[in-house]
């Protein structure tokens, strides 16, 4: 029996909600949510008798985002202790770029409450689909934008990069204010340590509404600051590879098409369970 479901509502308002998430919502005595989708509340009211939006009570202009996460976690735990099960529903994927679910999980452990996290469609999934990016081709490196700068992380120019939250750059405070070009200067300089100035990057904002297309800005890395006023917190920066890494292991290259090699690295009988399958913990409960 689950006390708290943590679910993602997807990016495109209600169309990307999964069936297992919908079942969790129906089973809950209260749904507490953080999502500014125009129809989210109306949709949730059709599934659960008690709906609570946490957005307006969590965020204040120039307020610490951390305080907002504390408020969300405390409200969800309060509800779960009072009338379980409850659902905490967030925009996108509940674990991607969100602190409150981790806080809720650890608090719940201390309070003997059981938590189940259900995945949602994230901005990354939408970006893959709309920009036709396959992370298996040349790999993918991804960083949160401010963390990238704080740690001066190195970027591999031969691997596509995904930089989250470029619209929230250089602050832990919440704001709806429009960015100035100066805000992106440090990021621009950092990118130019690894990429040619005219390397074309893509700022992508996946649409939250079916009557609106996703927003795509393509520009040279050197021109990043010129787009500051357009890049709100919903944008993700995609940087395609600027070069190709040559193959170094030619022995493996020969082997990957070889039947003999395949037989050497596999068992004769088909259908064996992998260790990953057999060792995986079973879910605590079915939704």
């Amino acid at each position: 029996m689950i006390d708290i479901y943590i679910v993602g509502l997807g990016v495109l308002n209600i169309d990307q909600i999964t069936r297992e998430t919908e079942r969790a919502l129906r089973r809950s005595n209260e749904v507490l949510y953080v999502d500014t989708g125009v129809a989210t509340q109306a949709y949730l009211e059709g599934l659960c008798p008690r709906i609570t939006s946490l957005f307006q009570t969590s965020y204040t202009e120039s307020g610490e985002r951390l305080n907002a996460y504390h408020h969300m976690a405390a409200r969800v735990l309060d509800a779960a202790l009072d009338h379980p099960p409850v659902t905490f529903a967030m925009h996108g994927h509940p674990i991607v770029g969100a602190y409150a679910p981790f806080l809720i999980r650890d608090l719940a452990g201390l309070l003997a409450l059981r938590v189940r996290v259900l995945p949602g469609v994230s901005a990354m999934d939408c970006l893959f689909a709309e920009l036709m990016v396959d992370p298996c081709v040349a790999g993918m490196q991804m960083y949160e934008a401010t963390d990238l700068l704080l740690r001066r992380r190195s970027l591999q120019p031969d691997v596509p990069a995904l930089i989250w939250q470029i619209g929230n750059l250089e602050t832990t405070l919440h704001t709806m204010r429009v960015s100035k070009p100066e805000r992106l200067e440090r990021l621009r300089s950092h990118l130019l340590r690894f990429y040619p100035p005219r390397h074309v990057v893509t700022a992508f904002y996946s649409t939250p509404h079916p009557l609106m297309p996703s927003t795509v800005h393509r520009f040279a890395a050197d021109d990043l600051c010129d787009y500051a006023h357009l890049l709100h917190p919903g944008f993700t920066l995609f940087i395609p590879a600027a070069s190709e890494r040559p193959i170094e292991d030619f022995e493996l290259l020969r082997q990957i098409d070889s039947v003999e090699h395949l037989r050497r690295i596999t068992h004769e009988s088909a259908g064996r369970q992998s260790p990953a399958d057999t060792d995986s913990p079973r879910p605590e409960g079915r939704v």
């Binding site: 125009v38 009211e45 008798p49 976690a73 201390l110 059981r114 009557l211």
Partner: protein, 227 residues
């Protein structure tokens, strides 16, 4: 009946797929019944990135959480929350007895008892009895519908071993060897400060629980070093 606003239009386009198709194929027809100014009509006709501005206005004005009641139907029933029934927690205790009889070997039997459980310590076993096997049974009611005629309630139940250890709570026991959680945030889940704060949360009533939870969050983040 009042005519809908641009926000009403956008909400319906999400919830009503037929209307969404009309709004895309024949916007002027979809506009019938909506009170839209020229700019809103132009944006909703073109369906370009400026729709975001209309959505943003709705968020700024707090309209996203107040959808028009005539679109949703039973508006009155949604505002009154149904009663919330408390969870029932029971402690199942099995005390083993070994008895000898005429047949070869011994025979094992259990004495079973059921106790109300508040979420804290287990009730003491009788002196002199062997170690008991204890399980927690949780029965959770969920109110599906609340009408004048009565409540429609469904129940779910779970049973899990009662852990022996810190706090004697199922989730508190196994953390002692690892001071921090497995999440990237390194919470001090096994600190004394966090355990004490968690007990304070459990002991609090509804009026003070939120503040106690904030205290627990603080303890989780700072651990014992800042007590």
């Amino acid at each position: 009946m009042t005519r809908g606003s641009a926000v009403d239009f956008l909400i319906r386009a999400v919830l009503d797929e037929t209307f969404r198709d009309t709004a895309t194929a024949d916007p002027p027809r979809a506009f019938e019944g909506y009170d839209l100014n020229d700019e809103e009509r132009e944006i909703l006709q073109n369906q370009d990135e400026r729709v975001l501005a209309l959505l943003g206005q709705a968020v700024t004005r707090g309209e996203v959480s107040v959808a028009p009641s005539e679109k949703r139907g039973s508006s009155n029933t949604k505002t009154a929350s149904p009663p919330v029934l408390p969870e029932v927690r029971l402690l199942l205790r099995l005390i083993p007895h070994v008895s000898q009889n005429s047949a070869p070997g011994s025979q094992l039997a259990y004495e079973a008892s059921l106790h109300p459980w508040s979420g804290d310590l287990a009730p003491d076993a009788a002196d002199g009895k062997p170690p008991a096997i204890e399980w927690i049974i949780r029965i959770t009611p969920a109110v599906r519908d609340a009408q004048e005629a009565g409540l429609s309630v469904s129940y779910s139940a779970s049973i899990q071993p009662f852990a022996v250890g810190a706090g004697k709570s199922p989730a508190l026991a196994p953390e002692s060897s690892q001071a921090r959680s497995s999440s990237p945030w390194n919470h001090y889940v096994a600190s004394n400060a966090a355990k004490t704060a968690a007990q304070a949360v459990r002991a609090s009533d509804a009026s003070e629980r939120y503040e106690k939870l904030l205290d627990l969050i603080n303890a989780l983040q700072t651990g014992d070093a800042h007590d």
